[in-house]
Symmetry: C2
Subunit: 179 residues, 2 copies
Amino acid sequence: MAHIEVEENVPGIRSLVMFRPETGKPLYELAQVLLRGESPLTEAERELIAAYVSKRNDTMFCTMSHAATSRELYGSEKNIVDDVLNDVQQSEISDKMKALLNIAGKVQILGKEVLPEDIEAARKQGADDREIHDTVLIAATFSMYNRYVDGLASFTPTDPEEYIEMGKRMAEKGYVTPK
Amino acid sequence: MAHIEVEENVPGIRSLVMFRPETGKPLYELAQVLLRGESPLTEAERELIAAYVSKRNDTMFCTMSHAATSRELYGSEKNIVDDVLNDVQQSEISDKMKALLNIAGKVQILGKEVLPEDIEAARKQGADDREIHDTVLIAATFSMYNRYVDGLASFTPTDPEEYIEMGKRMAEKGYVTPK
């Protein structure tokens, strides 16, 4: 049960956004522009960074829902998502994405963990300022969403089927404030 | 020097928001509604939670600027800010705020650190759902801002005078997107 009185059976952040729509609005707008707006990173890659950080923060709801969304967006290459979540280095993702995921992992620990050599390594693989910026902000943003969802113990569905549906909806419609 | 090419000498998050205004807009709107919108917590208390979490995340820019803002808002009681930042338990802040700061400190570590007994302790001191919600979201939100600012190594002024001015501006005008 959640730590505060929210709508029952509404999963994850949705119940919290319904509890306090005034803060929910910018929270959803941020997700929409960051994960669906213009970026040199594909939507599938951005959702993968979100799932990767959420897994490191041990937030099951965000991990499952964003992994499902990323799989949906990767389409026939969807296996890459689980490969990365299991072991980035052993996965067949590009060296640039490996370097960006390394930065995301450092941000997940703490901002100051990101060292000039981490940035340099990403640049060597062709990452530009915008890719580095978006990676850091996605990792920072999910360090927030994860804490919001778990800090208030919001409802986390356990049926994998539910996440497949969620992933389809999030891939297709993006982040629309719940009514 | 920042990890990406941003406007020089523009401090903290401002330079990042100028680099990417599309994400800057919801980031500032979130701070404005959360720290200045309607809440059972005073603006001074909310800024104090922000400074407290930022200090725990070792983000000097956010700690100094939000501590300065909280001092400004506490007015004649401004010593409470440094007392809390030095040692919550020894400070003369209310037992309710102590219980809420305990929750904020748990969120700073990780969402799942918040246990039912932490919530119960806050309720015993009279905290309601909205106070608990706002505390968790402020702590989660600053876990993001702190990582964004430090993860990209944005410019951190070292002159304390500059933060006093910043605090006055933030107390008076709130969070207005930089042009």
